[in-house]
Amino acid sequence: MSMAATKALGASDGHDHGHHEVAEDSHFGKATGGKIAMWIFIAQDGMSFGGLLLAYGLLRIFSPDWPVPSHVLGIGLTAVATFILICSSVSMVMAVEAAKAADKAATVRWLMLTILGGLSFLGIQAYEYTHLVEAGITFSSSTFHGVDINDRFGSTFYAVTGFHGMHVTAGVIYLICVLRGALAGKFTTGGNSYSPVEIVGLFWHFVDLVWILVFTFIYLL
């Protein structure tokens, strides 16, 4: 087998430890298979969110009695949650940078902060849901403190924010798995070994990106 072919097969030969390189591809450069796969997943997942937001938009446009979201939902608290998610995106890029620089302690620290951000977001969402249910807004019926409001307000709200919350939950579990690997020192041996941290990062930023749009369409508009 030629040298080029051996290189293309990846760095499984062990001799080249600390310098795992992906062969340069004319279309994707040095992106790993895992990274390309995650991007394809993100693209289709983005369309799932797109479908939900589109359905929400249509239901809302054709309902003249749609309540003003800010009269029902807490904008301030959600803005804090949004900011926490943005912060966790920053800690995520820092984790990738640390893994790239083969700094295990910093990788672990930034990953833990990112997980903490995700858990805080979920905590705020749980708190928010509890209060909304108490006020009368559920998935199938909507009254707000005894006043009837459009039923679809509750269904679309929980469908969109719930689907996103599910992504945050999945992201936290995914991050915990990556954290275990980071604690074992798997991603800080140089070369391309940081790749799994970068890939979980892509998913995490996507969850943040979607929330930015959800915050605007569901809460602010």
């Binding site: 450069g29 991007w39 890029v93 790239k100 140089g190 930023h205 930015i212 605007t216 602010l220 508009l221």
Partner: protein
């Protein structure tokens, strides 16, 4: 073993990198230097835009300004999303093919906008 000779031509062993000298960690990898300063800048912009977003609905509360409010809010949200995609998700530094894949949901968005415009201006 020939391993020591094998690795000698590459960047120094990862363990020797002190996190303090974060600026240009790998001398041989010009395009992969640290983006930390960029990330902090983007973070500050995102934080600022979020504050602006929260105040926009209060400034444009009257029914008269609804279209302007909508344009501003959607513009702000899309700008933030693009910043996250370009910088945090590294799209700015990726090859065109990966960018086209990432744009797939946007094609659907464009189609949606066309349909909405047809409804509005029919």
């Amino acid at each position: 073993m020939s391993q020591s000779k094998h690795t000698s031509g590459h960047a120094p062993a990862p363990a020797s990198h002190a996190p303090a000298s974060s600026g240009h960690a790998e001398p041989g990898h010009g395009e992969e230097h640290s983006h930390k300063a960029t990330y902090i800048t983007i973070f500050l912009i995102l934080g600022f835009l979020t504050v602006v977003e929260v105040f926009v609905p209060q400034v444009y509360a009257s029914a008269y300004d609804q279209h302007l409010k909508m344009l501003l809010l959607v513009g702000l949200a899309v700008s933030k999303a693009v910043l996250v995609g370009l910088y945090f998700m590294h799209l700015k530094w990726e090859k065109p093919w990966l960018k086209w894949i990432a744009l797939m949901p946007v094609y659907m968005g464009i189609f949606t906008i066309i349909l909405m415009l047809e409804t509005v201006y029919r």
